[in-house]
């Protein structure tokens, strides 16, 4: 009479035993059943955990939900404009939950005039309810001013540009943005910095609208991608 293994209960015939063919076949069936992916996973789970050398669903012992915002930006939405238009609006945002947004954009100005692109919040499109402070660095020349409208971007006629804008509502409820831009080409490349603020407080950021001051001045091929920094 043979014996049985402790884990899978496989039969081990005695050295002098004969007629154990059925037991060996039973062993094969048992092994076949136990080596499925699900069974292996269940077995691994019994030894996984801190200090196991595996700890498979955590990073440094923490689950993803415990890592908070340290895991990077999360894309909110993106759009590549298919035909010239005047504005692009992101709706259904929740700034109170997301805290900060980062907008990356490349804008083409297909018109024959230089113009600004407003950054409106919550459908508030009265330009004089915002101020912006900008500085352009163009070769050795620096130029700056404060103006009574929310031009977050500016493009001369036919010019293409690239901007990154951080957007938030401060602790007192003021809508604010700060952007940096790279516009014009080749040996005319220029650096632009801009900061904007709304004159009155808001309770949340629910929409953001980038609107050209001249119709159809957001050219086809312009791209906008909005990220939120906080993961909740």
């Amino acid at each position: 009479m043979g014996s049985y293994t402790p884990n899978f209960n496989l039969y081990k015939p005695d050295i002098n035993e004969t007629g154990w063919g059925n037991e060996v076949n039973q062993n094969f069936d048992t092994i076949d059943e136990e080596l499925t992916a699900n069974k292996i996973l269940e077995k691994i789970k019994t030894v996984d955990g801190a200090g196991s050398g595996l700890d498979a669903d955590t990073v440094d012992g923490k689950h993803a939900s415990e890592l908070g915002g340290t895991t990077g930006f999360e894309k909110v939405a993106e759009i590549e404009v298919s035909s010239n238009c005047t504005y692009v609006e992101f709706t259904n945002l929740d700034g109170n939950s997301d805290w900060f947004y980062v907008l990356f954009t490349t804008i083409k100005n297909p018109t024959g005039s230089g113009l600004g692109y407003n950054l409106f919040v919550n459908g508030e499109t009265v330009e004089t309810n915002y101020y912006n402070q900008w500085i352009n660095i163009d070769g050795t020349s620096r130029c700056s001013d404060r103006e009574n409208h929310p031009w977050a971007f500016f493009n001369e006629a036919g010019v293409k540009s690239f901007y990154e804008v951080i957007i938030s509502k401060d602790s007192d409820g003021y809508f604010r943005y700060i952007g940096k831009g790279n516009r014009r080409e080749g040996n005319n490349v220029m650096l632009t910095l801009t900061a904007g603020c709304k004159t009155a407080t808001i309770s949340n950021i629910t929409s953001l609208r980038i609107q050209a001051s001249v119709s159809n001045a957001i050219g086809a091929g312009s791209k906008f991608i909005l990220f939120k920094v906080r993961r909740v």
Binding site: V76, A77, I79, V81, S83, N84, C85, T86, Y87, V88, E89, F90, T91, N92, L93, S113, G114, L115, G116, E127, N136, D138, T140, S141, R142, C143, D145, E147, H149, W151, F154, R209, Q211, S213, V214, S215, N216, F224, L226
Partner: protein, 69 residues
Amino acid sequence: MKLKGFKVDVRKNKIEEVFEEISDEEYQKRLEEAKKREKERRIREMIEAKKQEILERIAIEELKREGKL
């Protein structure tokens, strides 16, 4: 005047082409204001560039006079 826009609903992940109607008079007013602002910026930039040029010329003359250039 119809202003064409794209509305991106971030919750529904839906992009919609939309049109906003404003009166021609209102659009003309906005356009004039935008042109005025653009012109003001252009003038500001020209003034600053000229200031820089003049300052640079004076600085070079001063440095030459001091024998540093």
